[in-house]
């Protein structure tokens, strides 16, 4: 804006000054013979851009109109003159700029345009407008003359003033300034002097001097100097003429006419001088161009590189000496032919086409081809060219150079070959491949790239179809600039790169290897669409939480299974399982087998009445808890204060062995907890499946254990042994607490004679093997005892048995048999510690008689026996050495302790005596041996009924009568009476009916003992042998009645007779 104001002011002032000068010189009322203002307007128009012309015109019009008014010219006339003075430069400037956009008067063409339009045509148009104003508006005559005067005056003004203004501008000044300035100053001074002499002193012969000076300036100093000198001369001449110097008088013309001539002459002179000057400039310029071309040629020829120049027609105009030397060619047939001769025939066509393609785009290019060297060898050269920058010409040909790149090319070719192989490879592998060419804008900036070649997978990887020969931005308009920038670096900086980058525009993520390839500006990409992989990686990260969760679950599962396995037994394992499921999986858990809840667990605040929940479970979404695993999420209907109501329920079947299934019920009642999901169910199912195996194995183990215990129990005597006259108690403490038995044993049984067999023994060793031997020994002793009442003899027989094939290695034993009626105990010891007898008074007797060596120790030892009579109420303590032998204590201490305890507890029950002995004597937990204690108290019958009678039926009623009488003194209730009479009757009836069938009447002995306990021991003996299975069948009803009503019904029959022994219990049905 400021510039436009400046233009306005400058133009207005200059125009006003020029116009005022003209008025000052020629106040004749006619047109001016020299009008400098015309040059101001024209020059101004030519110097400013077109859009500023209006400013120039406005300024000039303002000035013109003002000056005219000042000089008393009517407004109408002023308007007309102003119009003329505006149209004139506009027409001129328009035509000139059409011809030469920017005016350089040192160029002939420009000068011609300036003279023709600015000096001749423009002023003529203005002159006709002005003359019309002069004649039509002002009413004057002489239109032609006015036109002529205007034309000459304004033409001269345009010429000299315009030329000066245009010439003195900076770009027009020559470079070699100092010498030029001195010369210009001298010529300028001489011109002024000559003009002053001619017009001031009227020395007419000198009138040619300024002309000569003008010509000298034209040749020597160029247009600026000519313009300045010409202008100065014109001003001076005009001044002189205006002052009325009689110069023209001498020529015999009027001053006005003379001035006209003068101006024409001056104009012609200046124009000529300018023309000469322009011509000189042109020639100089050509000379300089030629000189620099020679200089280039010299440089090019001296350079090692091979340079070339083509013209606008693409014909080579120059090939450097280096090229000729390299190729050994000459220029015969022209440079083009010479070049074509040297290019490898296989490369010629390609090269030519690449060159023409680049030229058609007016782009720089680089082509490699094989060039024949002087020695005939073809060498790879890189031929690069760029458009020549020729002023004013759009097509000026190219200049370029060739460089031998053979060595490099060799490796490049190898690279290309390997690239070819790679391409083959890439087409068969899972990667995308493409070769691209970078596209740059006019500033050399990479803006896009073109796909030159792609492999099959390219389309798959990128989703781009038909990519070849299309650019990236055509295919992906929104392509992120980073791709182009990255590839531009690869293509132009020639360094490969590898990166991984996502393109939002493509919606894909690529792993890219980008490498530069020939030619320059190209690059190859090997890439993989890793979108899925990236997503997968993301998904992996996302799943890490899930994985952690799964790991937690796995740990949980492991924990549960470990703990469950650590528990012993089905129930303990089931309990552990449900305990561990709470609260991790559920708030309440229950384990149901059949209809029994065998285990349950609940979290704090959770309901614990499992039965109630199970009852109400049918209400939960109608689920069948015994159906296959299911998840039931129940709508929470409970009131807020009743948070205990389960809101979610899952059942899981659990197999705990073949054909044996249970159900695990899980509930959640915590309102904060989510309802069961299928993952919970899966966890529970997995747990149940594996825990089920553990439970099943526990069942098997328990079963095995049970079996083992039963087998072990079978090695021990029937603990149910009772006898009306003997209170019996026993304790068995195996050293190995995993077993119930060891090598020790005891036994108590009724012998056929009615005596009570009592045995205690000890097989050396512990554990199952000793237990097995013990069992064999015990059974042998029990069985053999039936055949002898002599304990020593029995031990001998047992010894014989023990040495047999199924025998033992070494054992000690005590055996005694007790007559319950007399209290006589016959006994023998085979290496065994002596039993202790304690009388009711507290007297103790160690039963040390009947001693012999242990079993299986020597051959056929003599085994004596001893006998002792037990006082009623006496306690007999039999034991194995485990009871009395303690580590670091003498066995005598053990015996003393045993005696002490026995005496102390002599009035206690046999059970308590056993307990005291075991707890007090084996209290220290270091018992390394099995311990057996067998304790009896002899309690003979308080009352006994005995009767011997002939075996005749009629005796039965008598017997019944006698028994009734005996019973009346005893405390025997009605039921026991009935039982006694009937069983006794049946026993005797049997004896009478069958015992003596073949031998005649014998005797039947009946003995009924009333024990302190109230039990009745009934014994019926005969000397016959009536009993047989066949008879039993016939007599079945009687025997059946005895077995039903009596306890411990025993019948022993041998050659000596039959003994029936039975106990009619008190209150026994």
């Amino acid at each position: 804006m400021n510039r436009l104001i400046l233009i306005y002011v400058a133009v207005a002032l200059s125009y006003g000054a020029g116009s005022q000068l003209s008025f000052a010189w020629f106040e004749t009322g006619t047109s001016a013979a020299f009008f400098p203002a015309a040059g101001v307007t024209l020059a101004a128009l030519l110097l400013v851009e077109r859009r500023a012309w209006i400013v120039v015109i406005a300024a000039a019009a303002t000035a013109e109109f003002s000056v005219d008014l000042v000089h008393d010219i009517s407004p109408a006339s002023s308007t007309g003159y102003t119009l003329a003075n505006m149209v004139q430069p506009l027409v001129a400037a328009f035509l000139i700029t059409r011809f030469t956009p920017r005016v350089d008067l040192s160029r002939l063409r420009h000068l011609v345009g300036f003279l023709l339009f600015g000096v001749v045509v423009g002023p003529l148009v203005g002159a006709m407008i002005g003359a019309s104003t002069f004649t039509l508006v002002d009413g004057n005559d002489g239109w032609v003359r006015f036109v002529l005067e205007w034309w000459v005056g304004d033409g001269l003004g345009a010429l000299v003033v315009g030329a000066v203004i245009l010439s003195v501008l900076p770009w027009a000044w020559p470079k070699h300034r100092s010498r030029w300035a001195a010369e210009a100053g001298l010529l300028f001074a001489l011109s002024i002097a000559a003009t002053v002499v001619v017009f001031g002193f009227e020395i007419l012969p000198l009138a040619y001097v300024p002309v000569v000076l003008l010509m000298v300036a034209a040749f020597r100093l160029g247009t600026p100097a000519v313009a300045v000198i010409g202008a100065t001369t014109a001003f001076l001449a005009a001044e002189a003429t205006g002052r009325g110097h009689p110069y023209w008088d001498a020529l015999d013309v009027s001053s006005v006419t003379g001035l006209l001539y003068l101006q024409l002459t001056l104009g012609t002179m200046v124009a000529t001088a300018l023309g000469i000057s322009a011509e000189v400039s042109e020639r100089e310029r050509r000379a300089i161009t030629a000189a620099s071309a020679a200089q280039f040629e010299a440089l090019a020829n001296a350079a090692p590189a091979m340079l070339w120049v083509t013209d606008a027609a693409n014909e080579p105009t120059f090939l450097s000496r280096g090229w000729f030397e390299y190729t050994g060619e000459d220029a015969s047939g022209g440079l083009l032919a010479a070049w074509q001769r040297t290019v490898h025939p296989d490369d010629l066509d390609r090269t030519r086409r690449s060159y023409l393609a680049a030229v058609s785009r007016h782009e720089a290019f680089a082509i490699d081809y094989r060039l024949r060297r002087a020695d005939g060898a073809y060498r790879w050269v890189l031929d690069s060219g760029r458009p020549r920058a020729e002023h004013g010409a759009t097509r000026a040909g190219y200049v370029g150079s060739m460089i031998d790149v053979h060595e490099r090319q060799q490796s490049a070719t190898a690279l290309k070959e390997s690239e070819g192989r790679l391409r083959t490879l890439f087409s068969s592998i899972d990667e995308g491949f493409c070769i691209c060419e970078m596209i740059v804008d006019e500033h050399g900036r990479a803006v896009d790239y073109r796909f030159v070649e792609v492999n099959v997978l390219f389309g798959v990887m990128t989703g781009l179809d038909d990519a070849v020969n299309r650019t990236a931005k055509e295919l992906i308009p929104d392509l992120e600039p980073v791709w182009i920038d990255t590839y531009a670096r690869v293509a132009f900086e020639r360094s490969p790169t590898r990166f991984s980058l996502a393109s939002a525009a493509m919606g894909r993520h690529f792993d890219v290897y980008a490498t530069p390839v020939e030619p320059y500006g190209c690059f190859a990409l090997v890439f993989t669409d890793v979108t899925e992989a990236t997503r997968a990686a993301q998904a992996l990260r996302d799943s890490e939480a899930a994985e952690r969760h799964a790991r937690d679950l796995a740990e949980f599962t492991t924990l549960v299974l470990t703990e469950v396995e650590a528990a012993d037994g089905v129930h303990a394992r089931a309990r552990r399982l449900v305990e561990l499921m709470v609260p991790r999986l559920a708030d309440v858990a229950a384990f149901e087998v059949g209809a029994d809840v065998i285990a349950s667990a609940h979290h704090d605040g959770a309901p614990h009445d499992i039965a109630r929940i199970l009852e109400s479970r049918d209400g939960i979404a109608g689920s069948d808890p015994r159906a296959a695993c299911e998840v039931v999420a129940e709508e929470r209907t409970a009131a807020p204060d009743d948070e205990r109501v389960p809101h979610s329920y899952v059942t899981v079947p659990i197999e705990i062995g073949p054909g044996r299934a249970g159900t695990i019920h899980l509930w959640r009642n915590d309102p904060e907890r989510p309802t069961f999901g299928h993952d919970d169910r899966d966890v529970a199912t997995g747990l149940a499946k594996r825990a089920g195996l553990l439970l099943a194995s526990a069942r098997v183990q328990e079963h095995e254990h049970e079996t083992s215990l039963q087998l072990q129990q079978a090695l021990l005597p029937d603990p149910a042994f009772t006898h009306p006259m003997i209170a019996t108690a026993a304790r068995y403490v195996p050293a190995d607490d995993t077993l119930r038995v060891g090598g020790d044993w005891y036994d108590a049984f009724v012998l056929p004679t009615g005596r009570i067999g009592l045995a205690v023994g000890d097989v050396v060793g512990h554990g199952l093997a000793a237990a097995a031997e013990m069992g064999a020994l015990r059974v042998a002793l029990h069985a053999l005892a039936h055949y002898t009442d002599a304990p020593g003899q029995l031990l001998e027989r047992v010894d014989t048995f023990a040495k047999g094939p199924s025998g033992t290695s070494f054992a000690t034993a005590f055996f005694g048999n007790l007559d319950v009626d007399t209290g006589q105990l016959r006994y023998a010891l085979a290496g065994h510690p002596a039993p202790l007898l304690v009388t009711p008074s507290g007297r103790t007797v160690w039963l040390e008689g009947g001693r012999s060596v242990p079993l299986c120790s020597v051959d056929n030892p003599h085994r004596p026996e001893a006998a002792v009579v037990l006082e009623p109420g006496s306690v007999l303590i039999m034991y194995t050495d485990g009871l009395v032998e303690r580590r670091r204590k003498s066995i005598d201490e053990g015996f003393a302790r045993l005696e002490e305890i026995a005496v102390r507890e002599k009035d206690s029950s046999v059970e308590r005596i056993c307990d005291c002995l075991v707890s007090e004597m084996t209290g220290e937990a270091d018992s390394a041996d099995d311990v057996v204690v067998l304790c009896i108290r002899y309690a003979p019958a308080a009352s006994t009924f005995s009767r011997q009678f002939p075996a005749q039926p009629g005796e039965l009623a008598l017997l019944r009568s006698a028994v009734r009488e005996w019973m009346s003194d005893e405390e025997i209730d009605e039921s026991q009476r009935f039982n006694l009479l009937l069983t006794l009757g049946e026993a005797c009836s049997n004896a009478i009916e069958h015992a003596y069938r073949d031998t005649g009447p014998g005797v039947i002995n009946v003995k009924i003992s009333a024990a302190a306990s109230g039990d009745l021991l009934v014994r019926v003996d005969d000397q016959g042998s009536w009993w047989s299975h066949a008879q039993d069948a016939r007599r079945g009803r009687g025997t059946s009645i005895m077995r039903t009503l009596a306890r411990d019904f025993e019948r022993h029959s041998n050659s000596e007779g039959t003994k029936v022994r039975m106990i009619i219990g008190k209150g026994n049905a």
Partner: protein, 118 residues
Amino acid sequence: MTGPLAQVDLQRRGADAVVATLTGEIDGSNIGDVHAAVADGTKGVTKLVLVLTGLDYMDSQGLRWLVQLVVCERERTTIVAAPTSISARTISVAGLTASLGVVADVPEPAAPGDAHRD
């Protein structure tokens, strides 16, 4: 010996019914006599009611007789034994209460009182 051990009281109930009431004891020594007494006293009658409630003793020999009696003369024989009686308990011990068809009381139509009134 029979006399003191067991008594058989036969009472006619009309033309074809007899109520035999046994008291005392029955064992292998007198079972034959008891059988004979009952059999003789009930010849030709179509209904025999055997009342055992009063027995003081009866063993498996008595049971054996009862079984034979019921098996052979099932149509006419009814055994009566009060539940707490010795005979009833003996029968019960042998597990024969049901198979012998033991009833607790003498059936009404053949009540002993009726016979006397006849």
